[in-house]
Assembly symmetry: D3
Homo-oligomer: 243 residues x 6
């Protein structure tokens, strides 16, 4: 097992690709074991293109979404892709589902976690996933939950980039240069055949975030060039020895 | 000149001691040249104790405040303490005063800057100082301001801890462990003879921020112990190669 | 069936009258089919006057509230009044209840929807209703929910005016002139016999909102006179061909 | 029964001590009957020290927490300590649990209520408790809930001080001088043997809040000295006859 | 001189009437000396009706506005009406103007102060007046400003009700029952001949605020009836001995 | 003169191109007279590339910026481009400068206005320009300012898209389809030779905003296709006869 690890909690199968595929690939290259939990396949709400096919069934949609996400995960170097298959639109977790997620969190012992924005009026599954991520992070820290297991420390929860950021009240405080792994992210994006209209959209997002990376690392005085970047919002404060 | 440098912009003479004395001493020990600009002595508004003495005059108050802040700066290892002496309650900068501050910023070329919270209904000088810090940071970045000079890059502006944090809408996102330099900060605090009632107040602040440091670096799972800490709020996003 | 339609989702039986009775009547006159869903009768929490009668029972309260709202709906020209009768204080929807609401949304295919403010510390049923409205709007858009049915487009969700607007963080961005239908709204208001103390209250609200209508349509330079208006807050951005 | 009463709704057994022990003791001395509801013992999530003992069981932890909170309640002069024992991390209330809480609220008929901050990403139990407090306050006001019982008026809900206030978006608008009862609060704090690391932390909080008390009651012009204070945020507006 | 006093800082001549006329009259009856400072007459921006008369001049407008406000002040029992006559649209204060306001503050030594909302995109004079009120309150507290004078304590600054409250981000936390002095407020309102269209508007505001007063003082359980009320937002926390 | 008109208030010469070039071209095609005021050339702060040339002077930079913006304005069909030439970094307007802007506003009598976001910590000129736009809009409405002139009505003030939207707290509520005029906007963009690195950046912005346009006009149910769009935030509420 790697010394360092990270955990992505994604409401639907494709979210981890668009929103933090670069962070996954980059940290995998750095030796992190990155685990991705997809709480659902997005089979009902995020598979419009598939449903337009004649004779489509729920199982076929799930299979297609599963295949796509496995392929994308492989392209990104995901260590472990876990499909919770809990259903979407709406997504709902019972207490047992939550405890299953806590088990994953404790097993992974992530250095940091990634999930959705805290507000999303277009997609209540997204904000629900983040609420669950916070709740399960808290449970994983409890000494009295499955006593004897190793409790969780205090990993950062980063919120990855939602669609239509401004409507979600999402404000990135961290830009990550993903230039070295861009080819992997694009390859993973192209696994999402059902959402081809978003391939270029998220490529443009990455290019524009690279402009923000450069501007915040130096601006007119000469920031560091980056061709592709991702943005993240932190929930918790950092602890440092140097500003 | 040191490779690394930092710049504190303080509305009144004592602010840099209470609010970021630890950050100053710590970075000085790390080899940063830390410059402190006091825009005023706080001679009118923050010297109540002195004014209660018989026969006090403005010059005497300024001299006392200057002496105190020089002593404190020395205790902290400040590289350069610059008194702008612009008057307080209210503080006001003309365009020339701002350009003088720009000169300092360009000369220092700080890795990061420190100033007040963006809102303070108790003390409008404080929020005005931050507004000026942002404005002068922008001017210092302009290639057309004194063409030929080295323009400023994009240093972070950290907002240090105000009094009554919640009333100011100040939310720290960064906790700095100042345990190694605490004795220096306490020594600097004790230079502020006119505000003795705040010595223990800010010692308690530092102790409680250390609890926050520990909690955010690991919590019940075993955070890193710190005895004294300071908190800061960042204005700009960070650019990183690893989350 | 009309070409255009609208859907009101009201936590309790009377809310649609006070908060958007004018919008209902106006759009009915314009040829919209306006459907109103009352999730409950407000029988427990908003029928104080009825409960003060000797020998009152839950069924009698519900009957009285039903009669009042049917009468009011008729006065306003409501196309379809649907009583979900799910209970109030607290209001709660099971997944099946939500799917029932999704069925209504899909059947109506509203041009726009109306519901409560997103925050209401006095009345948690109100904010819960809006949360459900957003969730069911999302489900109604899912191609995988009852595949084969016509999915929902992207109708605006307007939040109608709550009581004590400022406490709810509600900020109207749209004022609607309801002068032409005021008599209908007042007639509907007077159907609410159990809440007579609010008749004049909401008349005054309408008169003062008319002042806001005038001010925002021209102000001192000569805004358009309106005698009665209603205010609404939009959740989603508009898409236009002219500003 | 006393003329005046207050009700504290605490997610875990110890919260009422750290966060409003002074308010409890002070109002008890003033003749209020103060009831404290602990929704859980905090047995899973807030008893790390106990769980580190060999052979610990859930029942033993609960017993220890119960004993501690009873002792603390006695020290503070709590009129009635009610342990709901609903489990923590996560805390969850069924509708019946909520109705049980409504029964308490109606029985107590509090002049004011106290609970947690509305946001807490570290501890979702805390914000859930406040959400429940608002919901049950509303139910208790409903004439149709258990008709015939005395309905609740409109007591203020004060939010007591959370840990890491700024992260919770908590802003105190009321400071209470608890100097006269400090010894009682400290005694209650010392009953919490499992959390000894917080004894001095919350003592420092009380001392610094006293500085805020003084500053807001007069400041440099001569505020009222207080040695210990607590801060509270109000959810609802006040109604007064004099500003 | 009265034991208690209050100070209103009004951007234009009429603001004090609409927004806090009730508070003025009520406190005058309670024995407060209420001083009103009008920073301008509102002669340019709030006198549309006068300017539509043939042959109007700036002096004539000012005279008319002065006469109206003096009459209104008398109706309300204002102790001292001070016209700063600084011009409006835009309002601007030099440092000397601010010091003149500081002199008034110190002379009055108000128990509380009243001014505008902190945001007003329709009327930048309003938000500027509040900014000045905070700045001058701070200067008045400075021991080094005109040493020897009695410095100001820490009076609350209440923000009175703006027009279109929700657009201003204004949220009242205090409702004052002005029923006993309503006739005086209405009489003062009727002195504002140039703005007759607002007489009934602000009467309706007062009636609706009375509903809020009742609701927050008891609601369905039987709040205290009030026929007219005013709302205020506090800038600073309160210090109390009982919640 | 056209029946309809619009007014853009731009802090620096190039802002109107990137941020609302599409809106300008589109409304010009619809018969609006669009006036653009550039308060400065951005000669000091936004001309880095020019300043890197040997022997550059302030006049040469201004000339280059003027030439570029005139060319861009022509490409967009701007009716009137007015260069105020007030200097930048920092931008400052005297009262006379403001009155000059008021004269323009009154002459144009715009149906709507366009300016910057209300917050911008990177560029204080931007937020200052918006503050001035609000102030001058207010003055232009005053009957007592240059009595006899036609006063301004109540035009919307739209805030156009800033760089790094999320850092500015800017939230678009209106998306405008600019597909029909995209070639004109791109041509105008290419006039900005000094900022070639932004050509593709803002092209990507327009493409991604078109995705938002489609999503908000229908989403999965079939929104209207747009290839290029711009987003705007409204300061004031709209007044409508139909929702």
């Amino acid at each position: 097992m790697a010394d360092k690890s990270a955990l992505v909690i994604s409401a639907h199968a494709a979210d981890f690709v668009w929103r933090c595929g670069g962070a996954i690939a980059l940290h995998a290259e750095k030796g992190y074991d990155v685990t991705v939990v997809c709480l659902s396949f997005g089979e009902r709400g995020e598979s419009a293109k598939l449903w337009k096919h004649e004779g489509m069934t729920m199982d076929k949609v799930k299979d297609a979404r599963r295949a796509e996400s496995e392929k994308a995960a492989k392209a990104l170097g995901v260590h472990d892709l876990i499909e919770f298959d809990l259903g979407d639109y709406p997504l709902h977790l019972t207490q047992d589902d939550k405890f299953r997620l806590v088990d994953v969190i404790r097993k992974v012992q992530p250095s940091f976690m990634l999930s959705h924005s805290q507000y999303d009026p277009y997609n209540t599954d997204h904000m629900y996933a983040t609420q669950v991520a916070l709740e399960c992070r808290m449970i994983a820290q409890a000494w009295g939950h499955n006593p004897g297991e190793k409790v969780l420390g205090a990993p950062q929860l980063y919120l990855f980039e939602p669609h239509q950021t401004e409507q979600m009240g999402w404000k990135p405080d961290t830009f990550l240069d993903i230039t070295p792994v861009w080819e992997k992210k694009r390859a993973a994006i192209e696994c999402m055949e059902g959402q081809e209209h978003l391939w270029d959209y998220y490529t443009r997002v990455a290019e524009n975030r690279a402009n923000h990376f450069m501007r915040n690392s130096g601006g007119q005085g000469g920031g560091r060039k980056a061709k592709y970047a991702e943005g993240f919002q932190s929930i918790f404060p950092r602890t440092v020895d140097e500003l």
